[in-house]
């Protein structure tokens, strides 16, 4: 016995490091690079006030005379502005940092809302079954038959008209989170329901019922943790989708206002000047957006491969 107990209990960190998932992560250069880029973008976005030389939200720091300076590697640039300035004279680098922060925030919060709605509805539909299941899933089908953008455009256009531009711009972040969150819950609900239907038949659920646990505890504590892998995979895809949706809506003028630009509204505001030669206002935020969405999708692909029990062999 003493030989056994002298063996030190592995710490939580080393357990994670030695897990199959961490191993496959280290073995996959695409995943490592994607993760690195994602972390860099996220860190830069979170620490935007530290990295950004200017505050794009502060009108006192903006001078219209600085407008449309090109990036520093192009002739006629100003050394102050690494990526140049936009049409209003804002430093593009600072604006992108703040914009990425907004895009990520909206994407993550919208997905959190989707996940909350979708997981609760999916769990209930799958576990209770019967009429309630049919009702909830038909609601999901109806929701899915409207495209997300269509729902979002109608909702945002109506709220914009109702509250007026000023009030809308003030709460645009919350409106975007709500509309993207609500429009996409069926994705989660369907995935979760399918997993719950499979898990519900397993004997550990019977044994939980035999031990006298109530339905809520069985759903949340026993079935949900066993259904997490598809939820993880779908979450990465949904974050990418939500960021794209936000960018599309902002591009169409229904999202973040130009005074508080996200990546989408930056691309949109630069689009008016693209033919007058100021390509950088659109191109640079565009590249950031594409890279961000791409790395998230690549991470999602990797995760799907790792968590897929059919592909997973010891």
């Amino acid at each position: 016995m003493s030989t056994l107990s002298t063996n030190p209990e592995p710490s939580r960190l080393s357990r994670v490091w030695n897990s199959n998932m961490a191993y496959s992560f280290r073995q996959n250069p695409v995943a490592v690079v994607s993760m690195a880029i994602f972390l860099i973008i996220t860190l830069a976005a979170i620490l935007a006030p530290v990295f950004a030389p200017f505050d794009p939200y502060d009108p006192a720091q903006i001078d219209i005379m600085n407008s449309e300076y090109p990036p520093i590697w192009v002739d006629g640039s100003d050394a102050q502005f690494i990526f140049g300035t936009d049409d209003q004279g804002r430093d593009l680098w600072s604006t992108i940092l703040y914009g990425t922060r907004l895009s990520l925030l909206i994407g993550l919060c919208a997905v959190a809302l989707q996940a909350f709605l979708g997981i609760s509805i999916g769990l209930i539909a799958g576990y209770v079954g019967g009429r309630l299941d049919s009702l909830l899933m038909r609601m999901a089908d109806i929701q899915l038959s409207f495209s997300t953008l269509m729902v979002a455009i109608i909702f945002l256009a109506v709220t914009q008209a109702m509250f007026g531009s000023a009030a809308f711009n003030k709460y645009a972040v919350y409106f975007l989170i709500a509309v993207i969150g609500i429009a996409e819950w069926p994705q989660y609900a369907r995935t979760v329901r399918a997993t719950v239907l499979a898990e519900k038949k397993k004997e550990y659920v019977d044994s939980a019922r035999v031990l006298g646990f109530g339905p809520l505890r069985i759903m949340v504590r026993h079935i949900l943790p066993n259904s997490l892998s598809p939820i993880f995979v779908i979450s990465t895809v949904q974050v990418a989708n939500a960021i794209i949706s936000e960018a599309s809506l902002s591009f169409l003028g229904l999202g973040m206002p130009p005074s508080q630009p996200s990546l989408g509204s930056l691309i949109s505001s630069g689009f008016d000047y693209i033919f007058s030669g100021s390509w950088w206002i659109t191109a640079i935020p565009g590249i950031v957006l594409v890279v961000l969405v791409l790395v998230i999708n690549l991470l999602g692909d990797w995760m799907r491969d790792v968590l897929n029990p059919k592909l997973y062999k010891g």
Partner: protein
């Protein structure tokens, strides 16, 4: 008063086009600390009996009529809250396959502590302490370490021991064990059965052992219930049933044991299959396979009669018995 008394329990399944009777008029009693075996082949309704005792049948099954009196209270009439206070707490169940019965994403400790805390107002450390004691009771080595392990880190026999420990956690009065060793290999089977027997005896826990293994029943139980096509066809003291089975089906089961045949000879099996529950014959459900069946067997259902201290549902039991005796005398 007996611990559990089941009266005329009838369970039906509502299928798409018809309602089939899975259990019909099951009645039996179980005293405190008594051990009862339920035997029968696959589909005879053994496991459904186990689940109905906890009122845990899931759709499309339902209890049609009858009473399940657990210490005088009728489980059939209880609401969900009352049932939950009984399940796991006063009545526990052990399943067939230990590899899938434990939740794979929770540690042993989490599952045990959670079970305790769901039924008793205990602190986490008290619950962990009780869990360790129970694990020790089922001879799990270094139980403190096991609490932090996940089910996949343990062997099948170890897991079944843990499941037994979990069944015993709240000191139930009755354990229903549904083929507890079918998924384990033979040497571990014997260990687990011995452990179960020892724990039931020392803690005065009632046991209902559902199995198709007559050998296990004869070692473990005091009384036996033989089921066929959803009916009890023979019930009585285990020793008497094993030594002198009255129903032709039970006789067939015992004759089919490998020990009953000389090496090199074909096993004596009962011809045919059990009829599907949707297509039961009008008379005795065993009549199509029974070598002694007469016209009456095919038309009328036999009532349960007392014969030689055994309750048996067979028209011809007297004739069979006399025939046996005359054979013995002439031999």
């Amino acid at each position: 008063m007996s611990l559990l008394s089941v009266r005329d329990l009838t369970v039906k399944f509502a299928m798409r086009d018809q309602t089939v009777t899975a259990l019909s008029q099951i009645s039996f009693d179980l005293g405190k600390g008594e051990r009862l075996g339920i035997v029968g082949e696959s589909g005879a309704g053994k496991s459904i009996t186990g689940f109905s005792l906890m009122n845990l049948l899931s759709r499309p099954g339902f209890i049609d009529s009858g009473k399940i009196l657990f210490e005088g209270e009728d489980i059939v009439q209880m609401n969900e809250k009352q049932l939950r206070s009984i399940r796991g707490n006063r009545m526990a169940m052990i399943f067939q396959d230990p590899m899938v019965t434990l939740n794979p994403v929770l540690t042993i400790g989490q599952q045990m502590v959670e079970t305790l805390m769901a039924h008793r107002s205990l602190s986490k450390s008290e619950a962990a302490h009780i869990s360790v004691l129970k694990l020790r009771e089922v001879y799990i080595p270094s139980p403190e370490e096991r609490l932090n392990q996940y089910p996949h880190e343990l062997s099948g026999g170890m897991r079944q021991r843990i499941i037994i420990a979990m069944a015993l956690l709240l000191d139930p009065e009755l354990i229903i064990a549904d083929e507890p060793t079918t998924a384990l290999d033979v040497t571990i089977q014997a260990d687990i059965m011995e452990l179960l027997l020892e724990l039931c005896q020392s803690n005065k826990v009632g046991l209902i052992l559902i199995t198709h293994d007559l050998g296990v029943v004869s070692q473990m139980t005091e009384r036996t219930l033989v089921m066929y096509a959803g009916r009890v066809i023979e019930a009585g003291r285990t020793r008497e049933i094993i030594n002198d089975p009255q129903h032709p089906y039970t006789q067939g089961l015992i004759n089919a044991l490998p020990q009953q045949t000389l090496p090199g000879h074909r096993l004596k099996q009962i011809p045919g299959n059990m009829p599907g529950l949707g297509a039961l014959p009008p008379g005795c459900p065993f009549s199509p396979r029974c070598e002694y069946s007469v016209d009456r067997c095919r038309t009328t259902l036999p009532e349960i009669v007392q014969y030689a201290g055994i309750e048996v549902a067979c028209h011809e039991v007297k004739r069979l018995h006399n025939a046996d005796e005359t054979q013995e005398q002439s031999a």
